[in-house]
Symmetry: C2
Subunit: 587 residues, 2 copies
């Protein structure tokens, strides 16, 4: 009688260990058929196999120039990481860059600690020695920033040399992120240890200079921790623009020194505000993660709550149709509210607002002025505005309202320009009725207005605007709108749809693109899962613009998701766990 | 020149406090037009307004018999809650019930502490004195359990008397949950205090005895904490069945004493298992929250990984087509795997498995045997099976395969029956090709098989099965499948769609219904947001079966969501914050 046969009658409890093992075969991590009963070889653990298997290992987004990864790993420990940042840059004005790269290095070590988690064991006394060389003292991240880097990892007995060469601190930081992605955690008996690839050479630079994620703090207030955690995920995914849709008709959470009324009337509560200190803190948190923040004050539409105090202060109506009902008659989404383009005080208030923002944000930073979804019906129902138009000899045709709308944007831009002492910095506007390719040139100067298109993938708008010489940022509505799927007739776009969304080339005038996490149906409690790993999917499209499709990226993205989770970001699951463990068998 | 006019030139920073206030007018909480500059009256805080406004205040699900709520509130503190549980029940066998209600009372106090959060201030020394009277010593929750309760709250100077009368501990616990829902938190200057309604009378009982949520620990392993947190949410929403889809073809995480091989071969890793201790712990955690756990061992289909060891132990093939490729030829979803109905050892192993479960679960608890999505193509491609059928004079027509499938379920039931010493307890099966109304009677005895239908709302299957006398549990696929929307051509069903799904009446033979959180695309990190508040939406449909639709429930559900968040459950947002604050203005 076999062992099992006897057990049928005996109810014996036998302790067993389950442990499958994986081998890298033809660039896939293949699971063995049956579990090993004894402790398996470290090299056969799935995440280690993924670290060394295939040309890109577990690196996300994949490098664009050159990559060589050894298949050998070595244990390391966060305590044994040392930096050589001496004489980093030769310039005299290198203080800021020096300071920034030091902060980036500290974040690197903190993240390595998070990766190893609690009970981080020291298996070997391997030293990871990181030397960074940078050529420029530039510390402002712009579309012109050189983000390229070279990372060379060499093992020499108990020392691993990681040499990062870059033009800027931002390139060097990308090098650190890639270095981080050469590591993984081994868990054993409630303890962990880190291993990393012993030898590697990576030369890398992004395809698009603008790789963004939009968050929305007006439909729901987001706590600073949530935004910081999002920035952490962006830094690790090499996304470099947080488009902060800070205000909308729903709420105005920015507490600005020159116009505290905006928050007083517009914030949900005294606690749900961002002070100057908060904003500065976020900008700094972002910069250390290679991210710039572009703030959007949506206007003239999507501006209601926060703007109700004009009349009581003798400034007239700053915004019209505020919270007006039935809302469908005056806006596309409640609550309504649209700035009053004919009230000169509106531009005075905007001037103060811009002045505060210019003071808070780094010199030369770009602003987003919104410009989407103006409801002509609102202005058309406001007697003050229609009287003005009549006086000016305008009709109430659509074209004349578009004229008024364009007047607003040009006057707002001129207001900003004066604050910037006539520095002709461009601003960003959403695509709209005003940016239709056949008429945009009448309204908006292509040298001054960058257009963020949010048209569907089948529409020609982007191409036609590019042909006219407009600079664009692309947010393909039917692929990169992360809020879709949770309301109305919209559909959720999974990570693969996000990944497979191609956008026009840089050479045609595209800065890059953004995935958009609009805030109507998300707040602090579900943001992570709605953003991640889908924003990372977009990051590979924007950094690498691969000719391959999502199917070639799945298992790397899964490892990136595991990494984000280790870093405290609650990314959603994208395939069953069995499929994660059995590469290629669920296709 | 007004204050503002001078500010334009001066850059003055003025500290301001923003605070709106709300009033209950015509059963709606109406926001004042303008913010108060001074500290507002406590009564005008939104969540307090919602607590006392409208016939149901912030109670979720709404009571079905009688409800009277005073509009007056009084501060309380968790330290001043006392229970009178002396001589709770007169019976001699009351020990277990006594113990259980004590545990439920402790949970109540812990939850009140969570509600108040940190820095919980004592404003008044009001005592909340809770007296509970129960008539029965029953501590097993079944479809026959009387869950009714009456809650009477009376204020007398600095004492609030809450008197809960119920037939069973489970009814009394519902009374405690409702009492909890008479409370809310006031936040002020980084501290909080609790207030509760001073006088109330609620008489309540559920419409359906089976109010369930399915979770799936096979597609992704869920940690105990995640399951416990889910049970906490269920308890607070008066859902009373956790349908635990424990195993599937993907993984078998149950480590059972009689058959450790199932987990050894079937668990994702040695850490991703549920031991007997874990399962017992979950059952106990659930019971204290008024929830029973019905475990499902899906069979004969959806059984692959975990069942691979038969041959090596001389027991033949226990499961066929396990992980077979191309999977589309052998199952509806990878990995494939279907129990071998002609191998007698399969029933021996199932017998051991059932024996373990019977030992772990409370006496008389119902089991779910799965029964969905048998792929005839799998059995039809397995020579051992087709040879057997030929020998038995069967053809390879669909009907004969259905016969074989029915043979499996009846034999599996018979196996369970023997373990239960011929106790004729029914089992639950999913609706399938085997349960088509026109032929089900041939295969499955209506006294022994309860059918869980997962058909679409337009299909007649449920009605036709009820007409034949089958007992049902309803999981309307196009409303109550919480996994939909994240893959393929499926759509996400928002809280309103979940709410508005009507199911046939109890009197027709329906025990109730379940929302199903299938696990392919969700794990520990997004489960809360995908389940909540949608599962609560279903709970009101099942507890109250209101004639009103979702629009009458929105603001109460929003308060319930706030409550779940206070309790540590990361429920998703369902409307913009402005709409939450401005009742009725976003419709």
């Amino acid at each position: 009688m076999n062992r099992y046969g006897s057990r049928i009658n005996e109810d014996v409890y036998i302790e067993t260990k389950i442990r499958y093992s994986w081998k890298c075969i033809n660039e896939k991590c293949v699971k063995t058929d049956l579990p090993a009963t004894c402790k398996s070889d470290t090299n056969n653990i799935l995440n280690i196999c993924r670290l060394i298997c295939g040309p890109y290992g577990a690196i996300w987004p994949k490098p664009t120039q050159e990559i060589k990864l050894s298949k050998e790993i070595i244990p390391i420990h966060p305590d044994n990481i040392n930096f050589d940042l001496k004489n980093l840059i030769k310039h005299n004005d290198a203080y800021m860059a020096d300071k920034l790269i030091k902060q980036m290095s500290e974040i690197f070590v903190d993240d390595v600690k998070l990766l190893c988690s609690v009970n981080c064991l020291k298996i070997l006394h391997t030293e990871l020695y990181i030397k960074i060389v940078i050529n420029s003292s530039e510390t402002n991240l712009t579309w012109d920033t050189d983000e390229s880097y070279a990372l060379h990892v060499k093992n020499n007995e108990f020392k691993i040399m990681a040499f990062i060469q870059a033009k800027t601190v931002f390139g060097a930081r990308h090098g650190l992120v890639t270095l981080f992605q050469l590591m993984t955690t081994v868990s054993e008996n409630n303890a962990n240890y880190l291993v990393m690839i012993k030898d590697a050479l990576i030369i890398d630079k992004p395809v698009y200079p603008h790789r963004g994620l939009l968050i929305d703090t007006s439909r729901h207030f987001l706590h600073l921790d949530t935004i910081k955690r999002t920035l952490d995920g962006m830094g690790h995914s090499k996304l470099n623009v947080l488009h902060w849709h800070a205000t909308d008709s729903h709420s105005f959470p920015l507490k600005l020194p020159r116009i505290p009324e905006l928050a007083k009337y517009g914030a949900y509560s005294p606690e749900q505000i961002y002070t100057v200190q908060d904003i500065t803190d976020l900008i700094s948190h972002a910069k250390k993660r290679g991210v710039r923040i572009i703030i959007e004050i949506d206007s003239p539409s999507h501006a209601g709550n926060g703007w109700q105090w004009g009349e009581s202060m003798g400034l007239g109506n700053l915004s019209v149709c505020v919270n007006k009902n039935p809302w469908r008659n005056y806006c596309v989404q409640p609550p309504c509210g649209q700035l009053n383009p004919i009230n000169p005080n509106v531009y005075k208030v905007l001037g103060l607002l811009y002045k505060d923002l210019v003071n808070i944000f780094p010199e030369g930073e770009i602003f987003h002025m919104g410009g989407d979804e103006v409801a002509i019906s609102c202005w058309n129902s406001t007697q003050e505005i229609t009287d003005f138009m009549k006086k000016e000899g305008m009709t109430r045709n659509t074209e004349d309202f578009l004229e008024l709308w364009a007047y607003f944007h040009n006057k707002a831009l001129h207001t900003l320009e004066k604050i910037l002492e006539n520095n002709t910095i461009p601003v960003i506007l959403w695509s709209s009725q005003l940016t239709f390719p056949e008429s945009i040139a009448k309204y908006l100067d292509k040298k001054r207005f960058i257009i963020q298109t949010w048209t569907e993938s089948t529409e020609n708008t982007s191409i036609e605007l590019l042909e006219q010489g407009y600079k664009l940022i692309i947010s393909t509505k039917d692929a990169w709108y992360l809020d879709h799927g949770f309301y109305g007739n919209t559909r959720y776009y999974n990570w693969a749809t996000v990944y497979n969304n191609h956008i026009p080339e840089v050479s045609k005038g595209v800065y890059g693109g953004e995935v958009c996490m609009w805030g109507e149906y998300v707040d602090d409690f579900a943001l992570d899962a709605r953003v991640w790993p889908r924003a990372a999917s977009a990051s590979e499209r924007l950094w690498s613009d691969p000719i391959t499709s999502s199917s070639a990226a799945l298992y790397r993205l899964l490892e990136h998701r595991e990494r984000l989770i280790k870093l405290g970001i609650k990314a959603e699951a994208i395939i069953p766990e069995w499929c994660y463990e059995n590469e290629g068998l669920c296709e």
